[in-house]
Amino acid sequence: MSALKEAVTIYVPRDSTAISLGADEVAAAITAEAARIGLDIKLIRNSSRGMFWLEPLVEVATDAGRIGYGPVQPEDVASLFAAGLTHGARHPLSLDLVEEIPYIKNQERLTFARAGITDPVSLADYRAHDGYNGLTNALAMEPAAIIAAVTDSGLRGRGGAAFPAGIKWKTVAGAEGAQKYIVCNGDEGDSGTFADRMVCEGDPFVLIEGMTIAGVAVGATRGYIYLRCEYPYGERALNEAIKAAYAANWLGANIQGSGKHFDLEVRMGAGAYICGEETSLLESLEGKRGMVRFKPPLPAIKGLFGCPTVINNVITLASVPIILDKGAEHYKNFGVGRSRGTLPVQLAGNIKHGGLVEKAFGVSLRDLLYTFGGGALSGRPIRTVQVGGPLGAYIPDSQFDLPLDYEAYAKVNNMVGHGGITVFDDTVDMAEQARFSMEFCATESCGKCTPCRIGSTRGMEVIDRLVAGDQPVKQEALLRDLCDTMLAGSLCALGGMAPFPVLSALNHFPEDFQKSSQQQTPRVRVAS
């Protein structure tokens, strides 16, 4: 009775990295080939598992579980069907059971529990995979108990500052104000990071749920997701999901009959890195230049439009639903020291197995780079990694055993930041990287404070002279002095942290800054 046989389900990700490698073309080829051979299939555009070297990763639902093939190109599709893709048969691109791939199997996925598994914009799929359990619990709780759960979980801001989320919420809950806001910082401008993007594109409901819980907890009825304009795919997925959430009464008035009200809107940034800084982001949301504000007042007291505002990163808010679903203890049991829970680490740059690795705090860089990452993509030795985006330090091999932990990193002037790890092999020129850090700071400075606005341009010039061998001892002293001024005198983290990559390059890789002087004064060989 083949006519009654259920159509086979095939998954092709709609994640933008998968699309950038041809997922849309693969999906079209699969639909066309199935039609050509007269096969009934159900094609689901799922999110990515975060194993980007395998994208486009095609999966097929079988009785044994989901079988993967990848990386698939459109020209592979005919041979995949011929080999028996629909029942998970072997093919040169076979990956067998996707959940058994060590890269996935050895992770602790809490925030990214649904990544790659569900259809990101299907509310039914979200519900079937524990979605909205957290909010359902929260609606039955006192607001103070919700905040206590977030505090007890140990969740700290995942945008980089690592401020305890529960304390921020408590401040807003206690602040006076007729209107309060929940603002999600989705201005993920750090190079080497894409976790926020993966949530927005791959599991938008979890962010919507997290923000709604925050709203219920602090008494805010309105939320904004400030998303960078470089993420058009994320914008589309979020808006689809928000529409579905409204239609099913998970947003809007009287949510699920609770009497609680929460409205949510996506606002697009406009290509300014500084708008990832929270006060600058608020200015931008108000329709102004993204100039950093003086603090105090804190945004929790006077934030958006002068009202008490919770402003949290995407990952922070997306981690809230599982805390309210499984309990604070469950979340807290992951991690080390004061760094509780998990961190979605992003392996980027020159790395063989680039992608998303969600692990409990405490994992070492070496583990991430070699066990998960498989070493450099080029096959050459890894010389350095930059952790925490363009304002993060360049870390040498001698520090690769440091546990991933906010405090352990801060102790040696490194930062975990948003968990982005950008890998460089031994062909990297660290003087060039240091110069770029200053150039980037000059391009992106809002201009409000002098150390950042002018220091960054002067920094570029000093590095140029240093590398050119023009009075190098003097230039190095000047550069260090300038970095010191920027570190201590800048208004926000942009100018205040841009010296970290510069100084770490200078301290760990001084030889790269001396090339030119060596060339100019070649060692004279004595003929023997």
Binding site: F52, S191, G192, A270, G271, Y273, C446
Partner: protein, 177 residues
């Protein structure tokens, strides 16, 4: 004693310049801008959404749109201009047929981004923020497209492309030096 400022001090010497006379906006562009304003001007913090709306509709924010937007939001022209010039995304010149955003950030640098940047500039014969002479391509820098595990990355009219080698760039654009 305060100086006695007679009202004539502030009298205009010449009639005010009518903005409409100077505007080079076509009727279609004006209509598009007005449609965006009608749709968005009542949003709290409406300026960025409006500028996005205008740029999405026209490809850029014409300088003559500034007074129209300013008037509708009850802002000064300086405030609107200040916002446009602050954000890298907004452009005030008509772009080419296709807009390329090439990533310059560290993760792409680690996999040959700098060499690709040189190739793109040579091939197109332009620098960043410029448009090719035939009007086909405008080249803009991006500081991270969030595609950091499969760089170098390029966005063509909003469509993301990963692992862009020099060859792949030539194939994607059909341009050769």
């Amino acid at each position: 004693m305060a100086p006695n400022l007679s009202s004539s001090t502030f009298e205009r010497r010449s009639p005010p310049i009518k903005l409409a006379e100077l505007s080079s906006l076509s009727a279609a562009d004006s209509a598009a801008i007005n449609a965006v304003l009608a749709r968005l001007k009542n949003l709290p913090g409406a300026l960025l959404p409006i500028l996005h709306g205008v740029q999405d509709a026209l490809g850029y924010v014409p300088k003559d749109a500034v007074p129209v937007i300013a008037k509708s939001l009850n802002l000064s022209r300086a405030e609107v201009h200040g916002v446009i010039s602050f954000y890298h995304w907004y452009r005030t010149e008509k772009p080419g047929e296709h807009v390329l955003h090439l990533c310059r950030a560290e993760a792409c640098q680690a996999v040959g981004g700098r060499a690709l940047e040189a190739h793109v500039k040579t091939t197109l014969g332009i620098d960043f923020h410029e448009t090719t002479a035939d009007g086909r391509y405008t080249l803009e820098p991006a500081y991270c497209l969030g595609n950091c595990a499969v760089g170098p990355s390029l966005m063509i009219d909003g469509a993301l492309k990963g692992r862009v080698t020099a060859d792949r760039f030539d194939r994607l654009t059909g341009v050769t030096a």
